[in-house]
């Protein structure tokens, strides 16, 4: 393609966009809808993933200590143990206070203070991943001075299963949704190109090369795809921002902390932009190709 052809292509795609304005807008809006659905789902998945991780990191191992345990030695060992996120030492006195709050009435426990206190000292160990809890508990149980390293077996087992299951579900649904969105977008573009198949055939008969015919369509498709994804990402971003704001205002629950860090949101929005724009481009390429075989 020489420079004249290139200039022609650029001019042509703009002219064509303006003459098929309605069709172009509808196509862009449909791309936007498809991608907004996909993007909304991905945001949901990321947030559920985060919630699970927060819940996981709240799973604790309770290490009950003998009265004569060397607390500092145990803490030193925990410092070096892989997979441990942190720990808190809870003295038997503190344990009693906590218990009183838990059952809602501290008065009931009066008379158990001091030497009457039946509770042992305790170290609460926070872990990084629920999956490692059973193994870590076994290790901590082996430390001298630890009477019992306990963790709600049932809860942790459940958490692990939920995590695995949700991961599989979200992966499956993401793939299905992405395929659906791609199919929708490519077909929409194909339908809008179909309306102009006659034109493509005539150009071919006038001796236009495939690239000469294709290029304005590619530019057009890319522009529509880009425009559609811009709509999708911007509105998705705005909605997400509002949801996050209301979530934070409500401070619903410690584990319903929405994902707000840019490093994790950026790939989703950037990915949508790239996907939509590429789809516009590739969709046009494939759609036009069908009618180029004259």
């Amino acid at each position: 393609m020489n420079i004249n052809s290139l200039k022609y292509s650029f001019r042509q795609s703009l002219v064509s966009l303006s003459r098929n304005f309605w069709l172009a807008v509808v196509t862009a809006v449909m791309i936007a809808i498809s991608l907004a659905i996909l993007g909304g789902f991905l945001l949901l998945a990321v947030n559920v993933g985060q919630s699970i991780r927060i819940i996981e990191s709240n799973v604790e191992i309770n290490a009950f200590l003998y009265d004569d345990a060397d607390v500092e030695a145990i803490q030193a060992k925990l410092d070096n143990l892989q997979g441990v996120q942190g720990y808190t030492f809870v003295s038997k006195d503190q344990g009693l206070v906590d218990f009183g709050q838990a059952i809602g009435d501290t008065i009931l426990l009066s008379g158990l203070e001091g030497d009457n206190n039946p509770l042992p000292d305790l170290i609460r160990v926070q872990v990084e991943q629920a999956e490692t809890v059973p193994e870590l508990a076994r290790v901590i149980q082996g430390y001298p001075g630890v009477e019992l390293a306990d963790y709600g077996e049932e809860l942790v087992g459940m958490l692990i299963r939920i995590t695995r299951w949700l991961n599989a579900l979200f992966l499956g649904a993401s793939v299905l949704l992405a395929l659906g969105a791609v199919f929708l977008i490519v077909t929409i573009i194909r339908l809008s190109v179909m309306a102009r198949q006659e034109e493509i055939g005539i150009m071919k008969y006038l001796g236009a090369s495939n690239w000469f015919i294709r290029f304005p369509f590619l530019l057009e498709g890319t522009l529509m795809g880009w425009f559609g994804t811009m709509i999708a990402t911007v509105s998705l971003g705005l909605i997400y921002y509002r949801v996050v704001a209301s979530l934070q205002r409500e401070s619903l629950a410690f584990f319903l902390q929405p994902v707000t860090d840019a490093e994790r949101l950026f790939p989703i929005f950037a990915g949508l932009l790239v996907l939509g724009t590429l789809m516009g481009c590739i969709g046009s390429y494939l759609s036009v190709r069908k009618y180029l075989r004259v």
């Binding site: 034109e199 005539i202 001796g207």
Partner: protein
Amino acid sequence: MIEIRDVKKLYSGMATPALAGVSLEIERGEFVFLVGPSGAGKSTLIKLIFCEQKPSSGSVYFWGKNTSSFKEAELLKHRRRMGMVFQDFRLLKQKTVFENVAFALEVVGKSPKVIREKVPAALEKVGLAGKEKSFPMELSGGEQQRVGIARAIVKDPLIILADEPTGNLDRDNSRQLMDLFARINEGGTTVIIATHAYDVVDRMKKRVVALEAGQLIRDEQRGSYDDEY
């Protein structure tokens, strides 16, 4: 330049062939009328030369080369050399008259400057000056046909293939356009016209190739529309 050798064309699903063994040679610079009743195979023959259709058997040679063996690039080059007037016009509905004619030049990478010179000249020749900005749907039948003619002649083609180029034109316009084709032919361009305009054929005394039911029944230099003229 063009050699058609025992060409048969049977459209898929049809019982009788559109061309049933036609042989013909056309030299550079010739002016040929293709005549024959409706459905005789004139358009089919033109489509074979233009490589819009492929022969079912037999071959079409262009400067000694079998057009069936054309690769994509050769096919494009072949079509760019030709100025084709389609029987059904085939204008680009989305483009204005100017853009339709300009497209033939853009395809071959001509500069905007050349385009701004040549397109109005071609439109002038077919009597459409002033209609540049109209879209095909806003033209009368004859005007659409003339846009098709302007698009064919604007690129100074090696060969003009015109399929019924005056079917929607009045007598005076027809004669002027046929004279235009004759003038272009005098400049060395080969011209092949399928037509029913018997008066023009008779008047111009050019080579006449007559088809009937897919058979070549007559090929005369300085011929006429009818046999028994």
